[in-house]
Symmetry: C2
Subunit: 336 residues, 2 copies
Amino acid sequence: MIKILVDTLGGDKSPVVNIEGAIKALNQIADLELVLVGDEKDILEKLADKKYDKNRLSIIHAPDVIDCNDKPTEAIRQKKESSMYKCYELLRGDESVNGMVSIGSSGALLAGAVLKLGRIKGVKRPAFCPILPTMNQKVVGVCDSGANVDCDANLLKQFAVMGSLYMQKAYGVENPKVALLNVGVEEEKGDLMRKEAYALLKEQNTVNFVGNMEARELLKGDVDLVVCDGFSGNVLIKSTEGACMEVLKLVKRTLLSSLKAKIGALFIKKDLYKTKQIMDYNNYGGAVILGAKKTVVKGHGSGNAESVYHCIEQAYNLEKNNLRQAIESELSKISE
Amino acid sequence: MIKILVDTLGGDKSPVVNIEGAIKALNQIADLELVLVGDEKDILEKLADKKYDKNRLSIIHAPDVIDCNDKPTEAIRQKKESSMYKCYELLRGDESVNGMVSIGSSGALLAGAVLKLGRIKGVKRPAFCPILPTMNQKVVGVCDSGANVDCDANLLKQFAVMGSLYMQKAYGVENPKVALLNVGVEEEKGDLMRKEAYALLKEQNTVNFVGNMEARELLKGDVDLVVCDGFSGNVLIKSTEGACMEVLKLVKRTLLSSLKAKIGALFIKKDLYKTKQIMDYNNYGGAVILGAKKTVVKGHGSGNAESVYHCIEQAYNLEKNNLRQAIESELSKISE
């Protein structure tokens, strides 16, 4: 049995989507146990009309929420009645709990992973690894994407090792292609850190390093993992998300811009919906904090129940496939 | 009279688009003189059927081209018969020449600016500043976007000063809003360099600093200039371009995906074309190397004649509005 905590607070549509996603996961996965953490009365109300195996669901009361106005490190230390705080207390204190899923504040979740959970043996710094859907209907991981704004080449190597294992364990990618985010593809490109990282990755034979990658290639889906410092990784995923969103808005506006366009829109509505599904983050799970002592998955703050369901499924898969143990074992070999 | 060199080689559709763009510029701008640098015979052939003021156009023979397979610094030193090499020789040696436009190798163009032209007095390092069209039909400059992969806070401040003057002189933006690219909007976000740069920019009263900006906001057009180190700036523009391109490809594929969609496409064709125009880089000129001793504009390598025309117009405007002098004057005040 895999036991996962579900933080039911902190998202735009919480706790409804969190609870609905949890119920779906319970009904889909037989050896999954869930603990809903949040406002007990509210949770019970929302559960009233749901069908699920009551032996595999429990509730822990935590009425307070950490939101984006809170300072992450302060909040995760001081908001003791918050759902996220309680999740971390349980994760740390209860051996039987495997991991947690939250769609609340990324900053607080990261702070909690570092301050309250600690790292897997051998991990220098945990890294934030979201995934993005690509145009060839695969996914690409980006590691790190914001946990570590100051990095060095050795950290980048660890991100590559952890991220590569992650793509195997979470998405079944065999021998994941790992690229280094850089300003050009040639080996000598980039700053000193990138040049050093390139050399280290070339030598690292457990990583299938395919060289440098420029940011414009990300969505093509030719590689499975992009390794970067947290600052440029953050820029990479946010600008990609932002651009996709703005272009789709523009297309939508176009379809409403004239009577003729509106008629055309009726014809392409169905196909356009299918296309939108390819790019919908709700279908792809969340970002994982790689290197933390237990599995922590962060879903999109404005995600729906489907999104929460995929995050839980993802946490379950990582535990089932022993990602944490694989990271520890792999990193111990490197440091030897 | 403003005298601009046009490198006619190095682009995907060179020299045709370069020459056509040059002719359009000559016919539109009365006090502009152009020098076409490239294969003389080829240029003369392409000019044969064109109408323009022959007193304002001359040709310099340079049959060789620097392409993306050349190592930039080596090529700009050694390929003495290349059009770009000759342009820099002229820019450096001939006082009457104001600037140049090229759609060839960015790396070689940058190397030439640093190695052959040198910097405006007071400029620590030239910066590469492209512009992107935004969804509210304005433009945003990104400085630096690849010339300087290793930066410090003082360099970022210079980028802000130069970029701000640039947005005024090239696009007539009054009191341009300048933002610092960061992983979050709060003042304390980012690495040490970003925190230092934030403090410096807050104090810099000739720059209208509006605080930190996340990458996902870029295309909204709320700010006029984004300041960043060359590495993350490069990631910012390339991932934005890449994402826009991939989404548009996906939309196009959708419009051809079924008979029904194809019928719908006929209705929205015209409106979609208008929308595409908003995002078409050909309508917006090129990237400027800010801080170089003379005006250097880099157009898109796959740009068309319209793109080259806008680049020439841009170079003309910058010289007409004395950008270089303004940068020198402004930076001398800061260092005092």
